[in-house]
């Protein structure tokens, strides 16, 4: 240990002295020198650097310190070599290049002033030592007729590599005995050497040298014959020849890709049925050296095969296999069918109850060895152990032999017969192709009532894309095999299982979302037994279409019955688990779920006269689909409600009518008095006899009063008044214009305020009649000769007063003047003014008044005096009365 230390010190001292002259000059007076200068360090090791003090005694090794990665290295990593040298050891643990500095403490002013001379650094480059190239492999591929002169070699990449200090690889290739050497350098793990030509049959020595600043390492030398590295093209012109006389073999020929003088080749053949990817490889030992043909044997007749060939250097371990040649497809020749056809039957109900329809179908033999062109068939039927019919062999041609691979032609329908329930049938079939006839197969259809043990316990599960079937075997040892049949809407297929099978998968192309009716038939020595059946879906989905909905019957006021169609089986995509009925009147839909076997539903509690939208959702376990939406309106009235209302109203009306009739019948007098008040008959009036010349002779008070006063009191008039009034109105109508003239002329003589409102304005008699009951008739002056003046003529014309026909009711405004007059009398009743017989205006003009005694009998006694008083008062004021006042006293000559 001590000796080693001394040796190290000696070496450092020597280096320091050696460097002092060179380095110090180059460092222009630096007093510190770090050795070694610019080293390349191996990552993962420790590095020791030494700082040496030169050309000064100002500082010693104790004053030195190291800085690395911006920090001062702890002093425990220092080693003092001597008074002028201090070393430090640091680990090299990353790939980054770094600086290592040696500093000196500011011990003295000299050091402080010359700090630049008391620091020195070295740049540390790091790298991994070169790794030995491993797994060196080389290859030269065929180029044209020769092997390429480019030899490509590769080796495993180095595990560690520093980009700044990469490893350079030099590939050396030497042709032994020929003194030809080639090399190429690269930083990758592969290189290509180009030679003068490919040295067939010559030995090559190949190796790789890896080199970087940390050293050089060489790979293992690869010594091989040059052909060892050759990879040829695949055999060319590969031909497959099919021979009629050898239907189970092919003759394959090819041409060597390269002359055998360059490389002696061996070949390999592989083949597979067309469309399959499992290749059969012919063992290499079956090939003779240099052969360029081979006969493939044990092939299936009439089968398309794909064949490929490749080659390689004949010597074991030499060279590389070429790529496989292009596919060559060829079909072997036909041969007679070597297996039985697969015969099966489909039994359905016959037209009559005691018969069956049996359809015989047949698949081509598995080993048909050619196109099946026809089937040969014979049917034997038997009834109660008595052979009833033995048909001869019948040739049934196959319609389209070329379509034997299409899924729709999986079987051929041979024949359909009608078989009585108590009959059995035995069918024998052979398949025929162009090369011969297959072995015979048979199938028996027993009597319907034959009680062979039926199948039980059939269960179907899905297993991936297949159905897994399990069943319990009948307790009958006569079972020879089982037939698994699966039937969909447009597909029928079957497969056979041996008698020990109780579990199998259906090998057909089972599709999702299709309902399959799966049956397992036991076969008893060729006789078909009773099957077990199950319906199943491989996978279920939402129905393709939803059920379409419609109303069943008439709509109701609060209820509607919805019916929907059953979704067609191809569109169901699964078992319908339930239907959900939705209906809405514009608000949140209401849903009702019903079982999947229900196709109608009665919606109740609907609002009357409301529009509803309804739809059905059909659900399977795979999803749900809504059907079309149907909109309907509930009725405003329930059926019969309108009829009930009409009947009720009618009955009510009838009741009212009857009640009215009874009322009229029993109260006819009252009604008559109310509707047709009694009107004095003008014809019976005595006014016709009233004349100035006629001596005023007092009449009976009653008649005079009636003829002179035309006051209509509805409450008090009797029924005769109206009829009499009609007559009067007719009379008035005849003298309409005359009457009008008189009214106008008379002016205030009428009770009416306006001439237009007089009875003469009425044009229609009906109007008169209509208003008779509600109007007040007024009397008017009817003069045959009219009033010609106040001067009496020599023969004074007799004046006739007739009853006014005016329908105008009395208005308060019109009566006001009179009322104002009457107010003094304090009378407020209508009778107080209308019935009163007062002086007319023309009597006023004359300035004298006839002294007529009022003969009004209908008026109350207290009315007349007051009216008289009023009249006198009015006259006093010099104003005329606007209302008409009948002049009971008639005209009196002045």
């Amino acid at each position: 240990m001590v000796s080693t230390r001394r040796l190290q010190l000696f070496v450092l001292a020597y280096l320091a002295s050696a460097l002092s002259s060179a380095v110090c000059v180059s460092e222009a007076g630096s007093h510190l020198v770090v050795i070694p200068q610019s080293p390349v360090l191996q990552i993962g090791t420790n590095f020791t650097a030494t700082c040496v003090i030169i050309n000064t005694t100002e500082v010693t090794a104790d004053d030195l310190y190291w800085r690395f990665r911006q920090t001062v290295i702890p002093s425990n990593q220092y080693t003092k070599i001597n008074e002028s040298a201090l070393s430090v050891t640091i680990p090299v643990n990353n790939e980054e290049s770094e600086w290592l500095y040696c500093y000196c403490k500011n011990k003295s002013p000299y050091v402080f002033v010359n700090q630049g001379k008391f620091v020195h650094g070295i740049h540390l480059s790091k790298a991994y030592p070169p790794e030995k190239p491993k797994n060196l492999t080389c290859i030269a591929i065929q180029d044209g007729k020769y092997i390429s002169k480019n030899l490509m070699c590769s080796w495993d990449p180095a595990e560690h590599n520093v980009k700044k200090k990469p490893t350079t690889y030099t590939l050396h290739v030497e042709v032994i005995h020929n003194n030809q050497a080639y090399n190429v350098s690269t930083e990758e793990n592969s290189a290509t050497v180009t030679m003068e030509s490919f040295p067939f049959h010559m030995d090559l020595e190949i190796w790789v040298v890896a080199h970087n600043e940390l050293g050089t390492v060489e790979s293992e030398h690869l010594k091989r014959e040059a052909n060892w590295f050759a990879k040829t093209n695949p055999p060319s012109d590969v031909k497959v020849i099919s021979e009629e006389t050898f239907p189970m073999s092919f003759l394959i020929t090819w041409k060597e890709p390269i002359p055998k003088q360059m490389i002696a080749l061996k070949y390999q053949i592989r083949y597979c049925p067309h469309g399959s990817h499992s290749w059969f490889v012919v063992p290499i030992v079956d090939f003779a050296k240099g052969t360029q043909s081979f006969r493939l044997q044990n092939l299936q007749p009439h089968t398309v095969y794909t064949t490929q060939v490749r080659c390689k250097h004949f010597n074991k371990g030499y060279g590389y296999w070429s790529d496989w040649s292009a596919n060559v497809t060829k079909k072997t020749a036909e041969y007679r069918p070597t297996s039985k056809p697969d015969l099966w039957s489909i039994i359905t109900e016959g037209e009559h109850s005691n018969e069956r329809q049996v359809k015989f179908i047949c698949k081509n033999p598995v080993l048909s060895n050619g196109k099946i062109t026809s089937f040969k068939m014979k049917i034997q039927t038997q009834k109660e152990n008595m052979m009833t019919r033995n048909m001869s062999w019948e040739i049934i041609p196959v319609n389209d032999p070329d379509a034997d691979n299409s899924p729709s032609q999986k079987f051929t329908v041979l024949k359909q017969i009608t078989l009585l329930d108590n009959m059995t049938a035995r069918v024998h079939v052979t398949a025929i192709n162009s090369a011969g006839e297959s072995p015979q197969t048979s199938l028996g259809i027993p009597e319907e009532a034959l009680d062979l043990d039926p199948m039980e316990g059939l269960k179907v599960h899905t297993q991936g894309d297949q159905f897994l079937l399990k069943w319990n075997a009948p307790n009958n040892t006569a079972i020879t095999q089982y037939v698994v049949e699966w039937v969909s809407a447009n597909d029928t297929d079957w497969q056979r299982e041996n008698k020990s099978t109780q579990q199998t998968t259906i090998k057909g192309n089972i599709k999702k979302y299709i309902c399959y009716n799966i049956s397992v038939y036991p076969i008893y020595s060729g006789w078909t037994g009773k099957p077990a059946r199950v319906e199943a879906y491989l996978a279920q989905n939402a129905p393709s279409v939803g059920p379409s909905i419609q109303l069943n019957g008439k709509r109701g006021r609060n209820e509607v019955e919805l019916v929907w169609n059953v979704i067609p089986p191809p569109a169901r995509n699964g078992f319908i688990t339930n239907y959900t009925v939705f209906y809405s009147s514009g608000t949140e839909p209401v849903s009702i779920t019903v079982p999947g076997n229900v196709t109608s539903y009665l919606l109740t509690s609907l609002s009357a006269n409301t529009q509803y939208e309804a739809w059905i959702r059909a659900s399977t376990i795979g999803g749900s689909t809504n059907g079309t939406r149907h909109t309907f309106n509930t009725l405003k009235y329930a059926p019969g409600e309108i009829e009930m209302i009409v009947v009720g109203v009618s009955l009510g009306f009838l009741f009212v009518v009857l009640l009215s009739m009874l009322l009229c019948f029993y109260k006819k007098d009252v009604i008559k008095n109310n509707l047709w008040p009694w009107i004095p008959n003008p014809r019976k009036s005595t006014i016709g006899n009233w004349s100035p010349d006629y001596p005023l002779k007092p009449e009976t008070p009653k008649e005079n009063c009636l003829s002179g006063i035309s006051v209509l009191d509805v409450d008090t008039s009797d029924g005769k008044s109206l009829s009499e009034e009609d007559k009067t109105s007719l009379a008035l109508k005849k003298d309409k214009y005359l009457s009008e003239e008189h009214s106008s002329g008379i002016g205030g003589s009428s009770c009416m305020s306006s001439p237009r409102q007089s009875v003469s304005d009425s044009d229609e008699g009906a109007d008169i009649a209509d208003t008779t009951a509600s109007t007040v008739q007024y009397s008017s002056v009817v003069a045959s000769n009219g009033y010609k003046g106040q001067t009496p003529s020599a023969q004074p014309q007799p004046l006739i007063f007739s009853r006014s026909e005016s329908t105008q009711p009395l208005l308060d405004s019109e009566e006001n003047p009179d009322l104002s007059v009457q107010e003094g009398g304090g009378a407020s009743q209508p009778f107080s003014r209308l019935p009163c017989f007062t002086h007319s205006s023309w009597n006023q003009d004359s300035g004298s008044f006839p002294e007529v005694e009022p003969q009004e009998v209908l008026l109350p006694r207290d009315s007349c005096p007051s009216g008289e008083d009023n009249e006198q008062k009015t006259l006093t004021d010099g104003q005329s009365l606007s209302s008409y006042r009948p002049q009971l006293g008639g005209y009196r000559p002045q």
Partner: protein
């Protein structure tokens, strides 16, 4: 110690010796078989290369004739004085191998001259030039293998002296060059045929029995 014992019992007393003898024989036989296989492999490789050179020279003749015009079949029948003979001389195996080596070394300068002459007559990169180059390289390779075999087979014999690397450029016109080239190639092919025959003969004679090179 052997006294009183039958002779056959003496053998039984030395089983170790017998086993050693057997192992020695096996080892010797294995060594012999290895050497025989090496001899056979070496000769087989030379023979393969000779056949390849022979094929390539045959292809070269076809290409040469096709490139020289219609009269190539006529002037290829000519014979020239300065072209090496195709026959292999010598009585013993070493002599015949020496003859093979000498002839190969003699032919190579002629093939190089033909290449140079045809390089002036043919378009660069043509098939004739590349084939000529390849035949020359194959001849050098064949010479190297034969020389190596000779060295292994007859290590105590002096290797044949090398012939001239290049020939003096003769004064030949173009036609003479064509005739010369065809004669050289044709003669070289005949020589290779002879070499192949000789090698087969050598293989059958030399690489058999316990001794690798019985003739030596």
């Amino acid at each position: 110690m052997m006294i009183g014992r039958p002779l056959w019992t003496q053998w039984t007393l030395t089983p170790t010796a017998l086993l050693a003898l057997l192992l020695l024989l096996l080892c010797a036989d294995r060594t012999t078989s290895v050497r025989t296989r090496q001899c056979s492999d070496s000769l087989q490789r030379i023979l393969k290369l000779t056949r390849l050179a022979q094929k390539e020279s045959a292809d070269l003749i076809k290409t040469y004739k096709a490139s020289q015009g219609d009269l190539s079949d006529v002037f290829c029948q000519a014979s020239l004085q300065d072209v090496p003979e195709p026959a292999i001389s010598g009585l013993e195996l070493p002599e015949r191998l020496e003859s093979v080596l000498d002839h190969l070394r003699d032919f190579l300068p002629h093939l190089r001259r033909v290449y140079e002459q045809q390089a002036d007559l043919q378009a660069p990169g043509g098939p004739l030039l590349s084939q000529l180059d390849r035949v020359g390289q194959r001849g050098r390779g064949l010479g190297s293998l034969v020389q190596a075999f000779y060295r292994d087979a007859f290590p105590n014999l002096q290797e044949p002296a090398r012939g001239p690397e290049a020939l003096e450029p003769p004064a030949q016109n173009v036609f003479q060059q064509k005739v010369y080239g065809c004669v050289v190639v044709k003669t070289y092919k005949e020589f290779l045929t002879n070499v192949a025959r000789e090698l087969r003969s050598i293989k059958s004679k030399v690489c058999r029995g316990r001794g690798s090179f019985t003739s030596s």
